[in-house]
């Protein structure tokens, strides 16, 4: 009985302490509709690209290069950690990584050919360096920002490194859906990164009930956003 009396106040105090955070946590989810030029799967087109007349053309597989990032609900810190990126089959997997400041990205070359990786125009961030088959290159990204790592020999290999303090990010699945859990209430900015650039940015107000967003990225600068 005494133990019961003793635990009851502690339990209540714990509930009171956790109450604010539990009360403000919400879920932000939605759908991102990308334009055809992004969904086509080709960054560099040749002279011809015609469909065969026998079987249906398959959609481009999602390579994880579209990411939704929510910035600024409250000051948050994303702990830096090592993030692996594997280059195999002439493509990077994942193609986009979101890391905290000071995180190390490990580039592993699993191809049979070498890759020359660098951040073009930013040698101070990541200078060109040849990555032989079967080797790993560890690169630290200490400053917030967006960095596009390219292979000089095979330009279609693009690895986006987003360095941010926000822990609220999610990769878009093949259907365009995303889900951000435990987002605090309040104003925030939602950004969509795809194909090596920010393709969408909007201000949102996170409510206790959460948000369900449908984001349509226009083919050009026009952005059509419908908030539900």
């Amino acid at each position: 009985m005494m133990r019961y009396r003793l635990f009851s106040p502690l339990f209540l105090c714990g509930l009171l302490a956790l109450a604010p955070s539990l009360a403000t946590a919400a879920t932000v989810h939605g759908m991102v509709s990308l334009p055809e030029e992004i969904k086509s799967g080709r960054r560099f087109l040749g002279h011809w690209r015609v469909e065969n007349t026998t079987v249906a053309v398959q959609p481009a597989p999602a390579r994880g290069d579209t990411v939704v990032v929510l910035v600024g609900p409250k000051p948050q810190v994303l702990a830096p950690k090592n993030t692996p990126v594997e280059i195999v089959g002439m493509q990077a997997n994942p193609a986009t990584v979101v890391v905290g400041e000071g995180a190390v990205v490990e580039f592993r070359n699993s191809d049979k050919v070498s890759h020359d990786l660098s951040v073009p125009g930013r040698p101070e961030i990541m200078p060109p360096e040849r990555l032989a088959p079967g080797t790993v290159r560890k690169q630290r990204f200490g400053i917030s920002g967006e960095y596009v790592v390219r292979c000089t020999e095979y330009p279609h290999i693009v690895i986006s490194v987003i360095v941010t303090s926000s822990p609220f990010f999610a990769a878009v699945d093949e259907k365009g859906g995303f889900k951000l859990l435990d987002v605090p209430e309040g104003p925030a900015t939602l950004k969509v990164w795809s194909n090596g650039r920010w393709v969408h940015e909007q201000a949102v107000e996170v409510t206790p009930r959460g948000l369900d967003l449908t984001i349509k990225v226009p083919s050009t600068a026009n952005k059509d956003v419908t908030e539900q």
């Binding site: 560099f44 011809w48 079987v55 398959q58 089959g89 002439m90 493509q91």
Partner: protein, 609 residues
């Protein structure tokens, strides 16, 4: 002269315009030629782009036909399903590819790769034929083919450019895609040579900062990648550059650069079409390139207008010279002749413009000066002789030639003897100006009393008459001096002078003194001495004797005797005698003739008693 000057200025301006046009006119032509050359390169670039496009289509079609091969389809289907031994499938597919493309190099195929539906290489011919099993599904063109697209790309890996085409391989049941075929075509020297043959321009292929192949010596194209890099923005916006100039050794090239499509565009891969620019068309180059037919008579060259134009210019110039220079000069000369002939009092300087008018006014001023100012002594002596010998004043190189009269010095006053000596041919003595009088010779018995002593100084002789020892009395009084001739009496000598003492001669125009320079009128007839009305006294007889002796001596000396007027001669002798008598207070004067320097001359000696 005004119109002539204007004409010369116009001709000079015309010549300047012609030279300017010769140097400037080729420049628009150069620009036009460069523009045409640029347009030619534009068309060549368009043709090259179309050739690339049609080549890509052709290779896609070719490899699509290969993809319908049953053996390949079966083998790739097996590999995709994981059925069969990979090595066996590799050998099967490779041998089949070799059978389908027996002469790969002649076709320009660098490699032909067969992948299964997972993007794994089953077999390849060409590069790395023994390698298989790795995945290339990440390559966009391969991924496209595995999704069902027929497409092309350009790769720029390992310092080489390759045009790539990929097609899906569809199962025999035509239900699914079992793999893909990828062909890589040579994009280097062979392509450049083909383009040069077809387009007629030189070709260079640039990958990054390297010229990977060219129809020109690649060593001369070292600055080409940098030049293209400078126009990267223009290339990105317009898919090509405008015509650019490039100095390549001693050649001036015009070039257009355009990017390759596909991944190679990201790797700064360009094809460059080059053409040698025409040489600059300065006049010397144009002349050196002229042919003889260009100047052929009857050809396109405008000989007739050019000749007519030049003749017209020359004619106008000569005409203006004639009416403004030669004509006025001719008129001025005629007027001056008339002035010399005493037909005019002065020139009509208003008829002449410019410098000729100034010359006319100067002549008039000179005439005015001679009319109102005493002439120099040499002129007086000349006039004196003219008055003696001839009515027209022609000395004609007689014994009283002007050349014998020494010009008087302005200061100090010359010795009168020098003038007298020059007039009468007496031997010249040292001047007595400022010095003691010369020694007086004893008087000649013939000449009468001794001549008066020489004056103490020239200042006492404002008339500046010369002193001369009498030649007739050289044995008795060699330093006898006497007054020679008064200038005023000479100027006012009658024309023709009558042989009378009491006649005052009318003034003679100064212009008469100039007749020696402009005209020589015929000599007046010499009157006979007997025709005079003078009394036949001793003086007259003496004068007539002197005249006859003088005429005779002139005849002996071979000089003309017809030009000497007796009347003027006698009048002059009398005048001189009177002047000597008045000046030296002597009774009379005696004259004698003698030969000096082969010519007749006269001496005068005063006689006191």
């Amino acid at each position: 002269m005004f119109l002539s000057k204007i004409w010369f200025v116009l001709v000079g301006l015309l010549a300047g315009v012609a030279v300017t046009a010769a140097f400037v006119a080729p420049r628009p032509a150069d620009r036009h030629i460069e523009q045409l050359e640029g347009q030619r390169l534009d068309r060549a670039q368009y043709a090259a782009e179309q050739m690339l496009k049609s080549d890509a289509h052709r290779w896609i079609d070719s490899v699509a036909k290969l993809g319908r091969d049953a053996h390949l389809t079966e083998a790739l289907d097996s590999s995709s399903r994981g059925a069969g031994e990979p090595k066996a499938l590799h050998e099967t597919v490779r041998s089949r590819l070799k059978a389908l493309v027996p002469d790969r190099a002649a076709a320009g195929v660098e490699s032909l790769v067969a992948v299964d539906s997972k993007g794994r290489v089953v077999a390849r011919i060409g590069d790395d034929e023994g390698e298989y099993g790795e995945s290339i599904a990440g390559a966009e063109v391969v991924a496209d083919a595995l999704r069902g697209y027929l497409s092309d790309d350009v790769w720029g890996a390992s310092g080489r450019l390759r045009r790539v085409g990929a097609v899906p391989v569809i199962s025999r049941s035509r239900e699914r895609i079992v793999g893909a075929l990828v062909v890589a075509v040579e994009t280097g020297k062979r392509l450049a040579e083909i383009w040069k043959r077809n387009l007629g321009v030189d070709v260079a292929i640039v990958l990054g900062k390297t010229v990977v192949s060219s129809t020109l010596p690649e060593a001369l194209l070292g600055q080409l990648p940098e030049l293209i890099e400078q126009h990267a923005t223009e290339i990105a916006n317009h898919k090509r550059t405008r015509p650019l100039s490039l100095d390549m050794g001693n050649k001036r090239m015009l070039l257009i650069a355009a990017p390759f499509v596909g991944e190679a565009s990201e790797q700064r891969a360009y094809y460059v079409l080059l053409n040698e620019k025409s040489p600059k068309s300065d006049p010397w180059v144009l002349l050196s390139n002229a042919k003889s037919d260009d100047l052929r008579w009857g050809g396109d060259f405008p000989w007739v207008p050019l000749a007519l134009g030049m003749l017209a210019m020359i004619g106008i110039g000569l005409f203006l010279q004639r009416i403004e220079v030669e004509g006025p000069i001719r008129r001025l000369r005629a007027e001056v002749h008339s002035l010399a002939r005493n037909e005019l009092q002065k020139l009509d300087d208003t008829r002449y413009g410019g410098k000729l008018g100034g010359v006319a006014r100067d002549i008039n001023a000179t005439v005015e000066r001679f009319t109102h100012a005493p002439p120099p002594k040499s002129e007086m002596a000349k006039k004196d002789i003219a008055a003696i010998l001839d009515q027209s004043g022609s000395a004609d190189g007689q014994s009283f030639d002007v050349s014998r009269a020494k010009p008087a010095k302005p200061a100090p006053a010359p010795n009168p003897a020098s003038v007298a000596a020059s007039l009468f041919g007496a031997p010249k003595l040292p001047p007595t100006v400022g010095g003691p009088p010369p020694a007086v010779a004893p008087p000649s018995p013939v000449a009468g009393p001794q001549a008066p002593a020489a004056p103490t100084g020239s200042t006492s002789r404002p008339s500046s008459l010369p002193t001369l020892p009498s030649p007739l009395e050289t044995t008795s009084s060699p330093t006898e001096e006497f007054a020679a001739v008064s200038p005023s009496s000479l100027i006012e000598a009658p024309s023709p002078p009558p042989l009378r003492r009491d006649v005052t001669p009318p003034p003679v125009p100064v212009a008469a003194g100039l007749t020696a320079a402009f005209a020589t009128p015929p000599p007046a007839p010499r009157p006979a001495p007997a025709a005079t009305n003078e009394p036949q006294d001793a003086e007259t007889v003496h004068f007539q004797q002197v005249f006859e002796e003088y005429i005779a001596l002139r005849g002996k000396c071979g000089e003309s005797t017809t030009s000497v007027s007796a009347e003027k001669f006698l009048a002059k002798l009398k005048s001189n005698r009177d002047q000597l008598v008045a000046k030296y207070s002597c009774r009379t004067a005696r004259f004698s003739v003698y030969v000096k320097d082969g010519k007749a001359a006269i001496k005068a000696t005063p006689v006191r008693s």
